[in-house]
């Protein structure tokens, strides 16, 4: 049975029924079935108005959890979110982006989730609703491991909330073995704020597909602050900056390669952001 609740409260009530599972874009639920029949009870939250769309809320941006990647790619978002909009264009292909949701990407918690590195770099918070109320968690705290999150069975993710970063520029680089519709070998999200003197005022870097959960490189971020933002910035990075990562080797690449490629992508992302705008 597919339920199509009209409100979050109704959805939460339905979720308490036996065997109930949440459905949004369907792009993770259905592929995971392989040749098994669909779940008998699905609660479709993709139509809940509260969960759809992007809106500014003071200095923060609130993205409904059931907002699709296409909607995010098309949303008028500030430059700090460029990396998220680039990632939105890299989630599967158009067919997937039109259905898959940002909340689904986070709740599915794949180590290769395209949305996670940019949202980690944006210090995103997630809003979880349950019959008991609403709680807000840092995304870092929400993601607990490979396909593991802090979401309780009676909770629905309702929104992702991000504070804008004034003066920031950001980018997202994804490496796969082919051009489209590919699970990444490794990916990098990077954000820089450069002050009037051309020095780095703030840096935020996250690497995905290179550990069970995408990781921020906070030591490196701190090390970059105060350095001049120019082409030479790429040379500052060394492999020890990635010691926090713990990649696996799999069908897509060896673990060693992931580390090397992550370093190279980080260098390219920083070099790109350090160049003058539109340069």
């Amino acid at each position: 049975m597919l339920h199509r609740p009209q409100s979050t409260a109704e959805a939460l009530a339905l979720l308490s029924l036996p065997d109930a599972r949440i459905l949004a874009g369907g792009t993770d639920v259905y592929p995971a079935l392989v040749d098994r029949p669909p779940p008998t009870r699905l609660v479709d939250i993709s139509g809940l108005p509260d969960l759809r769309g992007v809106r500014r809320d003071g200095k923060s941006i609130r993205i409904g959890a059931a907002t699709t990647w296409t909607e995010i790619a098309r949303a008028g978002l500030p430059p700090a979110f460029d990396m998220l909009r680039l990632a939105a264009r890299d989630v599967g292909a158009v067919q997937i982006q039109n259905r898959a949701t940002i909340g689904g990407n986070l709740c599915n918690a794949s180590p290769a989730a395209d949305g996670v590195p940019p949202l980690l770099a944006l210090d995103a918070r997630v809003e979880l609703a349950s019959p008991g109320g609403v709680r807000v968690l840092a995304l870092d705290d929400f993601l607990r491991g490979n396909r593991r999150t802090a979401r309780a069975p009676d909770e629905i993710m309702t929104a992702i909330v991000v504070d804008d970063v004034a003066g920031a520029r950001s980018t997202f680089l994804k490496l796969g073995a082919r051009s489209h519709l590919v699970i990444s070998i490794v990916m990098v999200a990077a954000l820089l704020v450069v002050d009037g003197e051309g020095a780095i005022a703030e840096a935020r870097l996250a690497v995905g597909s290179a550990s069970a959960v995408a990781r921020r490189l906070r030591d490196l971020e701190r090390r970059l602050v105060g350095l001049s933002a120019n082409d030479a910035i790429a040379d500052v990075l060394t492999s020890t900056d990635l010691s926090i990562l713990n990649p696996i080797g799999d069908l897509r690449a060896t673990a060693d390669y992931r580390l090397e490629a992550a370093l190279e992508l980080l260098r390219r992302a920083l070099a790109q952001l350090a160049r003058p705008a539109d340069g």
Partner: protein, 916 residues
């Protein structure tokens, strides 16, 4: 029906449609099974292939990932409605048809629907917008070039006229079955299943090798009243065995006692479609005991390794050998020798249509409608399994959504035949994508060692070649690969001293079988890279080195055959010379000027490939008849798997008969209606069946001319009530009503057979294995990112000796598709047994990976093929990977020892070369 079923209404192609459903059903199954809209194809049920793309409120989505309840009240546009319910749909259908953008047609509905969303929103898209819009739809046949052409054509006003009016040899007419394909009407295996059919699912081994015992199947059946029947080996009335090469047949329909590869079937359950979809196969009463297994050639050859088949010592299925001259003699000091070891992995065919079909018992006969490349071989094997005469089995090939060799072997056929035979109900089976990948044949992994010598003046003097092929658990086409490769390992070059030895080795992997080239592409990866190394050592240009050594009609091949006329390999190479020099120079300039991570390179590789079976008969028979309505019936048994034989064979017949193609009615593939045209493989259909069609049409023409004793030069006009023969200015009219039906029920009929003239090979592999060889050379330009190990193929120029181009547009389509499969083989495709049985772990190229592909067709007719034509289906893939590897070497100095050159492997090799 689910207890929670309720009425769900959606708007499909502007029509309100409703059904009783629980809402969780996939939209694909509702569109196809409940609403009969079979144009929406199911390729993977995972969002990995895009074949099921429909528009939901105007936006493309994979219907397989949408719960039907989610689109209640929404507008859904499928391929069936795209012409009327999108602005650009009708233009796209036309453009796809005219551009030759549909080959097998399985991806075409998804492509067109996706393109319609793009053009409706962006009427004049850029190439990168087209790439992004179509990047989610995989195509395995076309290489995407003609799809790009079609979208651009639909976006612009440019509608070039196609071909000639008559559709004769040499004219680029659109496929005769093309309109049905672009409109999604051409029915594939899963599209012909009657609504009252039972469905079958197989119980398959979860281990690479296992012993198994059934529990109490009777009790399990009693507790599952929704299941009609369970089948095991004990239910097989004939022999529990099949195999494409009868003397090597070794594959059971259902394993007995022990399974030899992961995914092997041990039993099947049969019931209603709904019951089968709900069934959890994990509940079936079978116990497994995993046994030590062999993955890879080393494990299979290790001392004390368990035998995969008791009667095949050392796990060796067959040896192959061709030898002439003396390779063992000490090569003179003046000679240069290079040697190397190379490996290639399992490659999956990854056609967009998974295996499917249904069977029904008609009295004491069995009828099977399924996708296949080899109807008569299917017929004979199914007959043996059922214990009935071959004439009592009828194979009706459906449209085939790509084959590339794997649909030569049986897949669903024995299961559905057995179930239909025993239940007397129609029974269908549709492979899931994981089932298709796990259990059907693969390209043989190879391990090659080779040594090549040349004299100081650049002439090849000796080749000593050795290859082991992982043939998996069953024979399939392993013997063919082991025998074809030694014939071809000289490449299209003259080599006086030659030895090539091969082995096909059993492991506990899915059977390796036929895949576009039968081992020759793997061989070419080694040999063509070594030739570049040798040219370097000689200080010669790689192209000129190949030209110097190229075979011609007089120089004997490795099997001692002088090919005579129609050998245009040198012409292929020289046709590339100007581009070669310019592009090599440009690449070197680029590398001097570019400070970044990109290194550009240009590489070349040559190819030859014998058309048809190796030293074995492979006749085709064509029947052609004049019907009472003045039309021509062409009984054309060559299965069109997308390559275009329906069109090309008809063009040959029309030319030979001397009438326009519009007079032809095609009777295709059905073993009750068409004589045997053999299998669609080994690049033999245009050549062998084409020649039979030419002969049959000429025979019918002679009969027509005799009606008025006119000369050979007479013109034939077919009208609905008469035949008009015009000769030397005189008109002769023969009313059709004056003629009586004769042979095969036609007014006039002819049937002709052609079998290419070959001879058996002697103990040293000397003889005439093939009557005709195709030749070609590819040039590839690549950019290598030396810090990431990634490769972008920018441009491929493909020169092919096709003898005579029957339909140049179809030939280009074959070449472009072959190039893209070669690109996948080179850079990304590798199947790891037991892992990644889906199309997001097993990667094939997308539209964004397509280089510019230019085809050069060299026409040097030979005296054997129809109008001098040769096959090109496999030829087109063989030189691509080594050309790409030689380009990588030109860019970076790295020799690719292990295919595919994935980014991690290539980066490691680049770093190793740098530190050396």
């Amino acid at each position: 029906m689910d207890d929670n079923a309720h009425r769900i209404t959606l708007v499909v192609n502007s029509e309100r449609r409703s059904l009783e459903a629980s809402g969780v059903e996939r939209l694909t199954s509702v569109l196809r099974d409940a609403f009969g809209q079979i144009g929406t194809k199911v390729g993977c049920e995972a969002g990995d292939c895009g074949a099921c793309t429909v528009l939901i409120d105007g936006e493309p989505a994979c219907a397989c990932l949408v719960a039907v309840g989610q689109v209640e009240g929404a507008s859904v546009v499928t391929i069936e409605g795209v012409a009327r319910h999108t602005r650009s749909g009708a233009r796209l259908l036309d453009a796809f048809h005219r551009a030759g953008a549909a080959q097998c047609g399985a991806c075409t509905p998804g492509m067109i629907v996706s393109a319609a969303a793009l053009l409706d929103a962006t009427p004049l898209p850029t190439d990168s917008q087209i790439d992004a819009a179509l990047g989610g739809v995989l195509c395995r046949c076309t290489g995407y070039r003609k799809i790009l052409d079609a979208v651009r054509m639909a976006a612009g006003d440019d509608q070039p006229a196609l071909g000639g009016v008559q559709g004769h040899v040499g004219q680029s007419i659109a496929r005769l079955d093309g309109r049905a394909k672009v409109e999604g009407r051409d029915p594939f295996g899963a599209d012909v299943i009657p609504s009252d059919a039972l469905f079958l699912r197989a119980i398959r081994s979860p281990h690479h090798r296992a012993r198994f015992t059934f529990g109490d199947i009777g009790a399990w059946l009693a507790s599952h009243p929704e299941i009609d029947r369970v089948l095991t080996a004990a239910d097989i009335p004939g022999r529990n065995l099949h195999g494409v090469i009868p003397p090597f047949a070794d594959q059971p329909v259902f394993a007995v006692g022990e399974t030899r590869f992961k995914g092997e079937a041990v039993a099947a359950v049969v019931g209603s479609r709904a019951a089968m979809e709900r069934l959890d196969l994990g509940q079936f009463p079978v116990g497994w005991q995993a046994l030590p297994h062999l993955l890879g050639i080393d494990a299979a050859l290790a001392t004390g390794a368990p035998l995969v088949h008791d009667k095949r010592p050392d796990n060796i299925l067959v040896h192959g050998r061709v030898e002439k001259g003396d390779v063992a003699a000490d090569r003179a000091d003046a000679e240069l020798t290079v040697e190397g070891a190379f490996e290639t992995g399992f490659v999956e065919h990854a056609y967009i249509e998974p295996e499917a079909g249904f069977a029904r018992r008609v009295g004491d006969r069995m009828e099977i409608a399924a996708c296949t490349q080899a109807p008569y071989m299917d017929r004979d094997d199914v007959a043996a399994i059922l214990g009935i005469a071959p004439a009592d089995v009828r194979i009706i090939p459906t449209a085939v959504g790509g084959g590339f060799g794997s649909k030569l072997d049986l897949s669903v056929q024995p299961y559905i035949a057995l179930a239909a035979w025993l239940t007397n109900r129609p029974v269908a089976m549709v492979y899931s994508r994981p089932e298709s990948i796990a259990t059907t044949t693969k390209r043989h992994p190879s391990r090659i060692k080779s040594r090549i010598s040349a004299s100081g003046d650049g002439k090849l003097t000796a080749i000593d070649f050795q290859a082991d092929f992982d043939t998996g658990a069953y024979a399939s086409w392993g013997p063919t690969v082991a025998n074809r490769v030694p014939v071809h390992a000289s490449g299209p070059y003259f080599v006086p001293n030659y030895r090539a030895r091969t082995r096909a080795i059993h492991t506990n992997c899915a059977p390796s079988g036929a895949f576009r080239g039968f081992g020759v592409p793997q061989m070419a990866v080694a040999q063509e890279q070594l030739l570049d190394e040798l040219a370097d050592r000689l200080g010669m240009d790689p192209l000129e080195f190949r030209i110097l050594n190229a075979l011609d009609g007089e120089t004997p091949t490795a099997t001692g055959q002088a090919l005579g006329d129609g050998v245009a390999f040198k012409a292929c190479l020289t046709s590339l010379r100007q581009d070669w020099r310019a592009m090599r120079r440009a690449a070197e300039d680029f590398n001097r000027q570019s400070p970044g991570a990109l290194r550009r390179g240009v590489g070349i590789a040559g190819m030859w490939y014998g058309c048809g079976n190796t030293s074995l008969p492979n006749p085709s028979t064509i029947r052609i008849g004049l019907k009472a309505d003045g039309r021509i019936a062409l009984h054309q048994g060559a299965v069109d798997i997308g390559q275009g034989s329906n069109t090309a064979i008809t063009q040959i017949a029309a030319s030979a008969l001397g009438v326009g193609i519009e007079s032809f009615d095609l009777v295709s593939g059905d073993t009750d209606l068409t004589p045997d045209c053999g299998k669609t493989s080994a690049s033999r259909q245009t050549f062998v069946t084409g020649r039979a069609a030419e002969a049959a049409a000429l025979a019918l023409r002679a009969q027509l001319l005799r009606l008025a004793n006119v000369s050979d030069a007479a013109e034939i006009r077919l009208e609905s009530d008469r035949i008009v023969l015009v000769d030397k200015g005189r008109r002769h009219q023969i009313p059709l009503s004056s003629m009586n039906a004769g042979a095969f029920g036609y007014l006039l009929a002819a049937e002709e057979t052609f079998d290419p003239p070959t001879t058996p090979l002697d103990a040293n592999g000397q003889g005439t294995p093939y009557a005709v060889y195709g030749f070609g050379a590819h040039m590839a330009e690549v950019d290598v990112d030396v810090r990431l190990g990634t490769v972008k193929v920018r441009r491929v120029i493909a020169a092919h000796d096709v003898g005579r181009a029957i339909n140049p547009a179809l030939l280009e389509g074959q070449i472009e598709g072959g190039v893209m499969q070669g690109l996948g083989f080179a850079l990304m495709e590798e199947f790891h047994p037991g892992r990644g049985e889906n199309l997001h772990d097993y990667l094939i190229p997308t539209i964004g990976d397509t280089p510019t592909i230019e085809s050069i067709l060299i026409e040097t007719p030979n005296s054997i093929g129809p109008y001098g034509a040769k096959g090109v289906g496999e030829q087109a893939l063989i030189p691509t990977a080594p050309a790409i590897f030689n380009a990588i070497r030109h860019a970076t100095g790295v020799v690719v020892r292990r295919a595919p050159a994935t980014p991690d492997r290539l980066l490691a090799a680049i770093k190793q070369t740098a530190t050396r």
